[in-house]
Subunit: 229 residues, 2 copies
């Protein structure tokens, strides 16, 4: 059985992506980052999802992006925006304040190291650019360039074994991601998407708004609990 | 004054590279990693070098590469090789056990994030492939690919400002690096290259052997202290 490193945040997108890797027959090496995010509840979700998908290993790496800052997700002085309507988020060409500088580049780099150590052939990442087209590191051309760089970066690559980067949901919107998840029996009930740090999902941050709309459009009830509005 | 992020390990190569950045008129934002390396003495050297070069800021980031392992520098179960002759190290086509999986990719990714947050235009890295031709992430073609990826990865890049990666000593051998350092009045006396964790440099690990030989060929006495042989 081939091995795949799956970047698993505990959110909807990475969970569906890991379920895709599983459905393709890979042994899963889940990799989660404790990067000073406000929504630490995600990490607990990632643990449950990894167990559910019978991951061979689940590594939780502590990296302190808060020391670098520059994002509403890692810097307490920058407010997480709330209450924007779905259409407005989708239509926005601006890069949101929840963009974390070079985040996917950093996460993929650890995934590359981890893939090299465990001997994985593929790294799965649940990026998608349909909802947040503003995030530069969620675009297909970025992943193509990353792949080319990765092919020159490691011992395995030099010795002739490529480590591939797969981003299977990059062209899907939230509705399609929910549907794919349901079809693959992904544990959507264990996921956590809210940017705020509450006990229940807030239902109002960008991430909740996009998620709720995705479930609504898919005609499926979101199994996670929300604060009463 | 333009800003440059300088990756500063505290070793000879990164110190000379930072001195090059300084000589080109950049304001220096030094970035050092506390990555579970055995030779932690390096970090103290980095602090002294950053002060000496009047860095505008010196960030020391804790990242736990030991959790990933796979290298003699981060895994205590893998022995650091000692006593290899200079010619043998230079001639070796093998990737040494001191190779840390995807290390430069990880370090550059944090540098990219840091550069974006402080508004730096350049990242300086003191990689060179003359001595350790075996390290895949010390080759010019790797840096070219990294640069292409970086140009797609960040908010600044999307908005039209490139963050350049400079690797000015990549073609130099240790003799030339020592000479360049002397010419630029780089604080070579504050640097630390030894892979072992002792109070004085061991004089026998690959890194010490290469360094000592570089000083010898340059006709300059190494200002750091070594264990008596």
């Amino acid at each position: 059985m081939k091995k795949a490193v799956c970047l698993l945040s505990g959110g909807l997108d990475s969970t569906v992506t890991a379920a895709i890797a599983k459905s393709k027959g890979y042994r899963i090496y889940a990799l989660t980052f404790d990067y000073g995010q406000r929504h630490r509840r995600e990490i607990e979700s990632a643990k449950k999802v990894a167990r559910y998908l019978k991951a061979s290993e689940h590594k939780i790496l502590k990296i302190d992006l808060a020391q670098i800052g520059g994002s509403a997700l890692t810097d307490k002085k920058i407010k997480v925006p709330k209450g924007k309507a779905y259409a407005q988020i989708k239509a926005s060409k601006e890069i949101p304040v929840t963009y974390v500088p070079a985040r996917n580049t950093i996460l993929l780099s650890f995934a590359l190291a981890y893939a090299e150590v465990v001997g994985a052939d593929v790294i799965f990442i649940g990026a998608n650019h349909m909802d947040y087209s503003g995030y530069p590191d969620c675009r297909p051309q970025y992943y193509k360039a990353y792949q080319r760089m990765a092919n020159l970066a490691t011992k395995r690559a030099v010795q002739g074994t490529e480590i591939k980067v797969e981003y299977p949901i990059i062209e899907l919107d939230k509705k399609a991601i929910v549907k794919r998840g349901i079809r693959l029996k992904a544990p959507l009930h264990l996921t956590w998407s809210c940017y705020s740090g509450g006990k229940k999902a807030c239902g109002r941050c960008d991430s909740c708004v996009l998620r709720l709309n995705g479930f609504k459009e898919a005609g499926i009830e979101d199994p996670v609990e929300y604060e009463s509005q």
